[in-house]
Symmetry: C2
Subunit: 342 residues, 2 copies
DNA sequence: GCTTTTCTGATGTACGTCAATCAGTTGGGA
DNA sequence: TCCCAACTGATTGACGTACATCAGAAAAGC
């Protein structure tokens, strides 16, 4: 005798198949007493609904849409690639993923787009966007229409998103700080901070964690104000280069977001890359190259594959009304150095 | 129009459903020419077989057995826990996991056990065992009976296992060495090495990687011969304590396997824990506690959840005759410090 | 006791694939 | 020409669940 089926339950509870079906799918038209009879039968037999058969029957299709910023750099591109791969891998499991790109700096376009999504088109939404009132309200609206929503990478807690899929960015900043402090080996010096052009909240949280650890444990290190010059590569290059050359007490560089080509070039141009401890976020082709060339000392990152799979698991669980296993959905903060580069 | 089904292919290829089925399942009785007709139809329509429906139909059940050593310490216990969790989570997907424990130091018992497994009982096997001729031959025999086999954590490449699920242990040793060298900050000193009591190959590979990096990059650091005293806690405690107290030039400790309570106690008893850089493998309750107490500086580990999920994905892919996505099955070498403790 | 409502049973179809059977069609050799 | 293969078609019944319908039973109201 294999796993119990609805038939077994019907027999055990002494009711018909139709009634079992009504109870299992919590449809109306069953007396309270009978509901309990069925439920105890489910308990005693240890019945678990065969989800694949169920989905086959109702020919359910999960269509998950991922809203990502356009032109936000290589990290988002790797995320995009992971999504495409996941889409293929899950084609057989009746799960389809779709990616919608949005302009990076126009929150209203994002909000409008989110508002245009509905439960008829999709069964779940994942959003990577800046935390603005418009976006927050749009997410709330989505949730009201019954769509499960998760935020990606940078949280938007003020919205009522079902879950946040990403790392604890405060802890990530703390991690970066400890590595920086230890790699510097007790030296006194200054740290140059480069602000990410990505999203607000993740950068703020990382900076917070970084500063906290520096203040607590490495009093001899001074953290400089953030440089925010990502959108003007030429100008940034000049400034970074001159700052590094004029102040030899700068011993480390911490980039709150993924480093870009221009910034790395600026570091190279300063001629001080060999002495500097450079720590950045997110494993991308550029940061990978930097690690291999011993230009970057450590990368704090999150596995995009895990991000995507976790988001899909969570959305799917919400669709099915299942609970999620929290411990399984916690995204780890990965430390990558040249030696453990995947 | 949704996804194409076998019916659509039959229509497109101008053959009957039965023929399509024969081709798809590579059953005999179809002319070469017809096979090609069907295959091109599959191509043009972009048909992907609905695996859930297929499995439902053939009421396939995957029974995977994991052979683990008994009493091998907390790491294997966390692996066990992850397996139980995975078993529950995949009950709905018609995948069942079973754990069989074996005595740790008796390779013949392991081999006999493996030889007793067969394709009637299980659809896949995962083994965590020492690499001995008996075990190697047993695995080869299993493969000959048609069962897919993967090795876990410590590879047995001489067997013809389908895949190894675990980290690159040479790289892991290298990673430990770089962290050790950098955390020591250019000091001159000696490193105490504690050999794992776990399995041979993984320890050897880690030691190899560690020594390589030390020789290449940190010439001022001397790596001592391995201490192998895991089975005699009392004696080990005395030796470790006296070694550390008598030789103040020892600046770091590297444990090739998960540290155990007795060893950590010995380090504490030496009174030198505050100055030592301690690096060990595998995140377990003990190493976690050590990290939190600032007694351990870093832990090189592999995520047991990923291990079991990867093993199950691979075994299942082999069962279904599907190819696996290599990049998705590469287990990362995780660096854990107090700040990014999950 | 009668009607009305609420609950329950029985039955059937669908989902996409697998597997098996039986009948029919080719093609090649004798 | 005939026959025996080797192929192919048509059909059918699982697999476990969802969902709809209709008839029948029990419960409630009068």
């Amino acid at each position: 005798m294999g796993k119990p089926t609805v038939h077994d339950i019907a027999k055990e509870a002494g009711v018909s198949l139709a009634t079992v079906d009504r109870v299992l799918n919590s449809r109306p038209g069953v007396r309270e007493k009978t509901v309990r009879r069925v439920q105890t039968a489910v308990q005693t037999l240890g019945y678990v609904r065969d989800l694949t058969a169920a989905n086959l029957s109702r020919k359910r299709e999960y269509r998950f849409v991922f809203v990502l910023p356009q032109g936000a750099g290589q990290f988002v591109e790797t995320l995009r690639a992971a999504l495409l791969e996941a889409g293929e891998a899950h084609a057989a499991d009746r799960m389809a993923v779709e990616i919608i790109s949005t302009p990076m700096h126009d929150a209203h376009v994002v909000a409008d787009l989110l508002n245009s999504l509905g439960p008829k088109l999709y069964s779940g939404v994942a959003v990577l966007a800046q935390e603005t009132p418009a976006v927050r309200d749009a997410i709330r609206h989505l949730k009201e229409t019954g769509l499960p929503v998760v935020t990606l990478v940078s949280d938007i807690p003020s919205s009522d998103r079902d879950h946040f899929v990403g790392i604890d960015n405060v802890a990530a900043g703390r991690t970066a700080a400890v590595l920086m402090g230890r790699f510097l080996g007790g030296f006194t010096g200054k740290i140059l901070i480069s602000a990410s052009s990505m999203l607000a909240r993740d950068s703020i949280e990382r900076r917070l964690g970084f500063d906290n650890v520096m203040a607590e444990r490495f009093g001899n290190i001074q953290v400089l104000p953030s440089l925010e010059l990502r959108d003007q590569p030429a100008r940034m290059m000049k400034i970074v280069k001159s700052v590094l050359q004029s102040d030899p007490s700068i011993a480390g560089v911490y980039s709150l977001g993924p480093i870009n080509e221009a910034f790395l070039a600026a570091l190279r141009a300063s001629g001080r890359l060999d002495d500097l401890v450079v720590i950045t976020h997110e494993l991308t082709p550029i940061t990978r190259t930097g690690l291999l060339a011993d230009e970057i000392d450590a990368v704090i990152t999150q596995n995009v594959g895990h991000l995507v799979r976790s988001a899909m698991r969570i959305l799917r669980a919400k669709c099915d009304g299942r609970r999620i296993i929290e411990s399984q959905e916690r995204i780890r903060t990965d430390i990558i150095i040249k030696e453990n580069l995947p």
